[in-house]
């Protein structure tokens, strides 16, 4: 994938690429920290049919939506040659037992034999989180394990 990075003096940076269909799609990172999602027009690729302003939080949410399946697919592919092991993603609901607590608190590996390999938060992937990693509501937890282990992990995350 060839992403073009274009400085916009006085405004920020534009990063975009062409999709298979030939549409230009990308993001403008404004200096003041907000983002803009841009999608080019079909008949005039120089101009944009949409430019949607996004706050840092909204951009993170969008990245989460788009990025999580990709990450899970990648991990699943890596584990696919091992029999009986699968990868699953669990959203951590705000206010759930481990919202605001650490990975160590869950003792997930000892209790379920499944292991947490990554946490997706606001579009960023925190790979191999350490035991002192603190969860927050809205995190997406990527867990690897056997079917039984994953069920136990789901139960653990939901009920403590």
């Amino acid at each position: 994938m060839n992403v073009d990075v274009t400085p916009l003096p006085g405004i920020g940076t534009r990063q975009d690429f062409s999709t298979r269909e030939g549409r230009r799609i990308g993001v403008i990172a404004h200096r003041d920290g907000h983002f803009e999602l841009i999608v080019s027009k079909v008949d005039d690729p120089d101009t944009c049919t949409a430019s949607v302003p996004l706050s840092a939080e909204e951009a993170g949410a969008l990245a989460n939506l788009l990025g999580a399946p990709m990450l899970v697919a990648q991990l699943a592919e890596q584990q696919s040659d091992i029999q009986g092991v699968t990868t699953k993603q669990f959203p951590l609901a705000p206010g759930s037992p481990y919202d605001g607590r650490t990975l160590g608190d869950t003792a997930m590996r000892t209790r379920t034999a499944a292991s947490l390999v990554a946490v997706v938060r606001s579009g960023t992937v925190h790979a191999s989180p350490r035991p002192d990693f603190t969860f927050a509501g809205g995190d997406l937890l990527v867990v690897v394990g056997t079917a039984k282990g994953l069920a136990a992990a789901a139960d653990l995350l939901e009920h403590g």
């Binding site: 916009l8 006085g10 690729p45 120089d46 944009c48 430019s51």
Partner: protein
């Protein structure tokens, strides 16, 4: 006490009136600058509201307005961006300079204002309004367009040209001879090089001097530094505006961003007063005689900016519609044209009609600019349908 009360009422009325005008302007999609100028013209001619009590304050405020306009222009681009901009767009920048400076200079010479008037008018017609253009591009959702970096790099180049042009203009206005003028050019080039090198190498130190985590301290330091540098520059006959501009370039990184965010409202306030005072000092009765010249100049320099943008965008391999958009985006002139005219008139070295011509010209261009940017696409489509290519 009564005097203060009257002054407060007058000032309040002026600000409130400007606020109404500003709202009206953006509602119909034009820049508020022409309306501020008209506001000044109306107040000044002994018309609705004679501003006796506050003219001293207004005069000083308008000076501060110019300093803030130039300081924020300098803050807008980092030294890095200026250098890359210069490397990438110097050909387009030169085309821009020649095509848009010449009509102003020619007009001044035809009207018999001599070489000094020509130099000033060249600046008035050359410099696009980066404020109006950035706002219009943002509003029209064109920041993601392919031609937008081309437009911005032309603006960056204009910014650099201002750094050289303003000291020269100041020197020439102060009545320097040809040799004196050349010395001024040399000195200003050396000073600008030094400032740019300092900004590139030691920008952090300059930033650290004014920076502070406390917003109040930061605001006072930046504003204080700007006024100090501007004042010293004015004492050295380099023009207060240039000093503030160079300080703006020297401040970099996150300090520059914070300073911009903090000073923007202040600039809007004082710049509005600057436009009003410029209008106040322009006798409305001098405008009708120069109106024909202003209209002709507006037509010619609208076309020359469109050609500039078209040419610059074509060099970057952008399609016909994109080229038209780039050209139309560059048309707006505004605050800096008035700054240049203000410098020229304040020095008293040019014909008084220059203020009238600059006022009429900016009135036209600040209205025409956003409108051409907005309506270039339907217009181009209509033209293309008429004569199928």
């Amino acid at each position: 006490m009564e005097h203060t009360a009257v002054s407060l009422i007058e000032l309040g009325a002026v600000f409130f009136g400007l606020g109404m005008l500003g709202k009206l302007a953006w509602k119909v999609g034009i820049s508020p600058i022409p309306l501020y100028l008209i506001g000044g013209l109306v107040f000044g001619s002994g018309g609705l509201l004679p501003l006796d009590g506050i003219d001293e304050f207004a005069q000083l405020s308008s000076e501060i307005g110019v300093i803030l306009l130039l300081l924020l222009l300098g803050l807008e681009y980092s030294a890095d961006e200026l250098f890359t901009g210069l490397r990438r767009s110097w050909t387009a920048g030169l085309v821009d300079l020649v095509l848009n400076g010449l009509p102003g200079a020619a007009c001044a010479l035809i009207l018999g204002w001599g070489p000094v008037g020509a130099l000033a008018m060249a600046g008035v017609t050359y410099i696009s309004s980066s404020g109006i253009i950035a706002k219009v591009l943002g509003e029209l959702g064109r920041l993601g367009n392919r031609e937008t970096p081309v437009v911005l790099s032309v603006l960056v180049f204009e910014d650099l040209v201002m750094a050289v042009y303003l000291p020269i203009l100041t020197a020439v206005l102060a009545g320097a001879t040809l040799i004196g003028g050349l010395t001024a050019v040399g000195v200003s080039l050396v000073v600008i090089t030094i400032v740019l090198v300092i900004a590139l190498r030691f920008g952090r130190i300059v930033s650290a001097i004014v920076d502070s985590p406390d917003p109040e301290v930061f605001l006072l330091r930046v504003l204080g530094a700007a006024l100090l540098v501007a004042g010293v520059a004015a004492q050295l006959q380099v023009s207060a505006a240039v000093g503030a501009f160079l300080l703006g370039i020297a401040i970099s990184g996150s300090t520059a961003e914070n300073a911009t965010r903090m000073l923007e409202p202040l600039r809007d306030l004082f710049a509005a007063l600057f436009f009003v005072v410029f209008g106040l000092n322009t006798d409305p009765s001098t405008i009708p005689p120069v109106l024909v010249a202003a209209v002709l100049l507006a037509v010619v320099t609208t076309l020359t900016k469109v050609v500039t943008g078209w040419w610059a965008a074509a060099r970057q391999g952008i399609g016909r519609m994109g080229r038209a958009r780039a050209g139309a985006a560059l048309v707006a002139r505004g605050e800096f044209s008035i700054v240049i005219a203000g410098l020229a008139v304040a020095a008293g070295a040019v014909a008084h009609e220059l203020a009238a011509l600059a006022t009429a010209y900016v009135l036209l261009m600040a209205i025409i600019g956003p409108l051409t940017a907005r309506f270039v696409e339907p217009l181009a489509t209509a033209l293309r349908r008429r004569q199928p290519a």
